[in-house]
């Protein structure tokens, strides 16, 4: 016989609007083993909590059911009430009658009926609950940061400055990310490289940061506090310990490939450093472009290298790092605008995407900072097209947030560097940010022409074959315009990295509709993920500008620190165990576990669980054909009892 207390929350009108709460409490009191049932306006408030605590004492309750909001919100709150009252916290059951009932119906009868059914199930299960003891584990003090753009750099530096060891993993041969490609940053127009490269250098110099470039994560095991992460060091064919960065190799190399850093506007060598301030300042060989790898002979770089650092036989190597928390800051890709054929990118040489234009402005870029078209001439009229592929139902619905501002920046720089007429084709100008509206006003005064209207098409001019015609409707005057220009700049949508899905799978992250990593809560936990101990920062979460990215990076660093600063971590007691007598040795559990917790004990011929790795997701229990796996807190009996309770109502 149990003594169950049921506490029904109104949540103001959130629940009470579509569930007759007093009727629900009345119904609860008729159920077997329920000794007290009450309803209250806000159960999570201090008086509400005190009411539960009093009733536990007064009625000697041994099970508590709170019918309220999602357990994600207040399970911990009520667990603490139980613990403070001397009850084991796992004897609490939360019935979610807000997200799962009142918010999904307008019908009072329907809502009340569903709430009763759920409660009936919970009472049946509650009787079978067992007290459980939380596990305490040691926490690894180190942190891994994935992605060496500004977000990753910032987070790594912050963490390293607190004395933590940080592994900064970057897939390219240098850190810096997209920010290293930019020329000026809005709205202050300070030089991007001038503010970024000192940070890149600090990363290299920092004794607490282990920089791992040309690396990718290949496997993630363990969980919060104790991640075991396998990292693949891609072969660079240059021994960076021997290389003294004399760069004689890059001069002699005959192999050519397009420069990723210059957005394909120029070529680079097959052995190369991406850009002069690259960190680390050591070359790598691009296997695809290398004459030796393609034709079997050349080895010029090997001949000129006095340090004997070239090693064509180098293979990918794997290493494991152990960390307590992970920050994922993998950034973004620009949408491939070739798919939007109406804009003619890739077809007309006069059409550029935003990153290419960044490189044109840059003094270290392909034109040494001169704005010229691909044929070397200076453009006389330039159209900047906003929202290419973003805010577009046919392509990407989201707003890429930064395009308005960088388009304004482009306009300013075009005015500064050329005598061209500059036209902005926009839908709305979104200049929400510190100093952004002021910047917008400044650009208006610089004689930049703003045309409100989305461009329908970019076509070749019939009269002047070298020029382009931009066709759009000016939605302010209602006129259809055909504007001859020399240069068209597209502001493409920022989209998740092409391999974001793989990263999501490695770290068990969820992704939103666009494929950006999903935060645990859009407002209250914007940097946490559903995977505990894994945090996100920067554009991999959603498009944002540099100030927001840096702020997020700092936030993520602080979040990671809250975990690794502790020596011990308390974990949920809801793990699984194996009843060896029932185990049929099919090893399904071993195959399905995303955390690698079950393993097969060959001599005994049964599966066993490494509890330190178990997160209690219950996948193994659900695939166990002989019910040998018992998920604590969700045993078969408990779940069946709940289902019976649900169905009998």
């Amino acid at each position: 016989m149990s003594r169950i207390g049921v506490f029904v929350c109104h949540c103001g009108l959130n629940i009470a609007k579509t569930v007759r709460v007093s009727e629900l409490a009345q119904f609860a009191s008729t159920l077997p083993d329920v000794v007290v049932a009450k309803d209250y306006k806000f159960m999570c408030s201090t008086p509400g909590q005190e009411m539960i605590a009093n009733d536990i004492r007064e009625h000697r309750l041994d099970r508590v059911i709170v019918t309220a909001c999602s357990p994600l919100m207040h399970e911990q709150t009520f667990r603490k009430v139980l613990a403070a009252s001397g009850l084991n916290q796992y004897l609490l059951t939360i019935v979610n009658i807000r997200e799962q009932v009142s918010w999904v119906t307008h019908d009072l009868d329907e809502g009340t009926a569903k709430a009763k059914a759920l409660l009936n199930g919970a009472v049946s299960r509650s009787r079978l609950l067992m007290p459980l003891t939380s596990r305490v584990i040691d926490v690894n003090p180190d942190v891994m940061v994935l992605g060496g753009g500004i977000a990753g750099i910032q987070a790594a530096l912050e963490l390293a400055n607190t004395g933590r060891k940080v592994y900064l993993v970057e897939k390219n041969s240098t850190i810096g990310g997209h920010m290293a490609q930019f020329d000026k940053t809005f709205p202050t127009l300070d030089c991007s490289a001038c503010i970024l490269t000192p940070k890149m250098d600090s990363v290299l110099q920092h004794k607490n940061i282990q920089l791992m470039t040309s690396c990718e994560v290949s496997e993630v095991k363990g969980f919060v506090g104790n991640f075991d992460i396998t990292i693949r060091q891609k072969a660079r064919y240059v021994d960076h310990n021997k290389c003294n960065a004399c760069l004689a190799c890059t001069e002699k190399c005959p192999g050519k490939s397009v420069s990723e850093w210059d957005e394909g506007l120029v070529k680079r060598k097959a052995i190369y450093i991406p850009f002069p301030q690259a960190v680390p300042q050591k070359p790598v060989i691009d296997r695809e472009a290398c004459t030796f790898f393609k034709k079997g002979k050349c080895r010029l770089c090997e001949k000129v290298c006095e340090q004997k650092a070239i090693d064509f036989g180098e293979q990918d190597t794997f290493s494991t790092v152990k960390v307590g928390a992970v920050i994922v800051a993998t950034g973004y890709d620009l949408m491939d605008t070739r798919d939007l054929i109406q804009y003619g990118y890739g077809k007309y040489p006069g059409v550029y995407n935003a990153l290419e234009v960044e490189r044109l402005f840059n003094s270290a870029g392909p034109t040494s900072g001169k704005v010229t078209l691909r044929d070397g001439s200076e453009p006389k009229a330039i159209a900047i097209l906003h929202c290419i592929g973003s805010r577009d139902k046919n392509s990407h619905e989201h707003c890429s947030r930064v395009c308005c501002m960088y388009s304004l920046k482009f306009a300013h720089l075009f005015k500064e560097k050329t005598s061209a007429d500059v036209y902005q084709f926009y839908i709305d100008i979104r200049a929400a940010g510190k100093g952004y509206e002021e910047f917008y006003n400044r650009i208006i005064e610089e004689d930049v022409k703003f045309i409100r209207g989305k461009v329908a098409r970019v076509a070749k001019s019939v009269d002047e074959p070298d020029r382009l015609i931009v066709e759009a409707e000016d939605t302010i005057t209602g006129k259809f315009i055909k504007l001859p220009v020399d240069m068209v700049v597209l502001s493409p949508a920022m989209i998740p990295r092409s391999n974001a899905k793989d990263v999501a799978r490695l770290f068990n992250l969820s992704t939103d509709k666009q494929g950006f990593f999903m935060e645990r809560h859009p407002k209250l936990a914007p940097l946490s993920t559903m995977s505990e101990g894994v945090f996100i920062a920067g554009v991999c979460q959603s498009p944002k500008d540099i100030p927001d990215t840096v702020a997020q990076a700092n936030g993520a660093a602080a979040e990671a620190l809250t975990i690794v600063v502790k020596d011990k971590l308390e974990l949920e007691a809801t793990t699984v165990m194996v009843n060896p007598a029932s185990c049929c040795a099919c090893q399904n559990c071993v195959r399905v576990c995303p955390y690698g917790a079950p393993f097969f004990n060959e001599p005994k011929g049964v599966s066993e669980i490494n509890e330190a790795l178990c997160k209690g997701c219950g996948l193994c229990a659900s695939v166990c054909p002989s019910s040998a796996i018992i998920a604590r807190h969700f045993t078969n009996e408990q779940v069946l009892a709940e289902m019976e309770g649900l169905m009998e109502f």
Partner: protein
Amino acid sequence: MAVSFQQIEEKLKTEARRLLESGEVSLVLAWGKGYDEKHPMPYVAKCPSDADGIVFNEYCTHNPARYLVRYPRGTKIAVAVKAADSRAVVQLIQEDKVKRRDLVILGIPVYGIKNPKTGELIDGKTTCGLYNPVLYDVLIGEEVHGQPVSSPYAVLAEYEAMDRDARFAFWKKELDRCIRCYACRKACPMCYCDPCFIDQRKPRWGEKSPEPAGNLMYHLTRFHHLAGRCIDCGECSRACPVDIPLYLFHKKVAKDCEEMFGQAAGMSIEDKPVLVNFRMEDSDKILE
């Protein structure tokens, strides 16, 4: 088939004797004499002289792979298999119930096996219909050229034409006849759980004695435990004393599985058990 049943039997005996004499294996799973010629039985030869007891004729329907899991892990076993039986061996290797290195597979290409109860030829209607074993170490006889013309799923046409309600009514009617002798479970090479879920008391998944609800629970669960694993040997249906066409359900699930995941059970030891193996490119149709 160029080689006669008699020749196969002789060759089986020779191989079994050789393997047992050399100590390469400690037992040979095959078929032996039953109470008459029409009813041979599964047979275990444990010493060279036992090899003489091996029988092979057109009524050797049983799947000897069923008995592999009975012996402790690591036991060296030679197993005689027909085409579908070999798929069971492959599936067991995939599931790591037996190790490839512990097995000597005596593959028998054959057609013309008959159901002892009805005398009907066993073909793609009740089994996978293959002629040649998919994996073997020693070939007993000669490979049969050509493959069956009809698909093993052809028999499903009539069943698939039924709508949901009709199918449920069909199975309810068929399964109501079940006497819960568990012969299907005993004959099945993939049914190796001990204890079977239906024998468990905590929780009690279903009634043990024959009654409609318990019958449905037992069979539907068993069908789904075999999803993606049933190698379509058809032994469950032949073992059934009340002739419930269990193979129909198994074939339907196998077909769905193959269509969704592009993998039939027990065809290659490189494959992983399909329903407990996640691949990015997996179909989401199963969620619909």
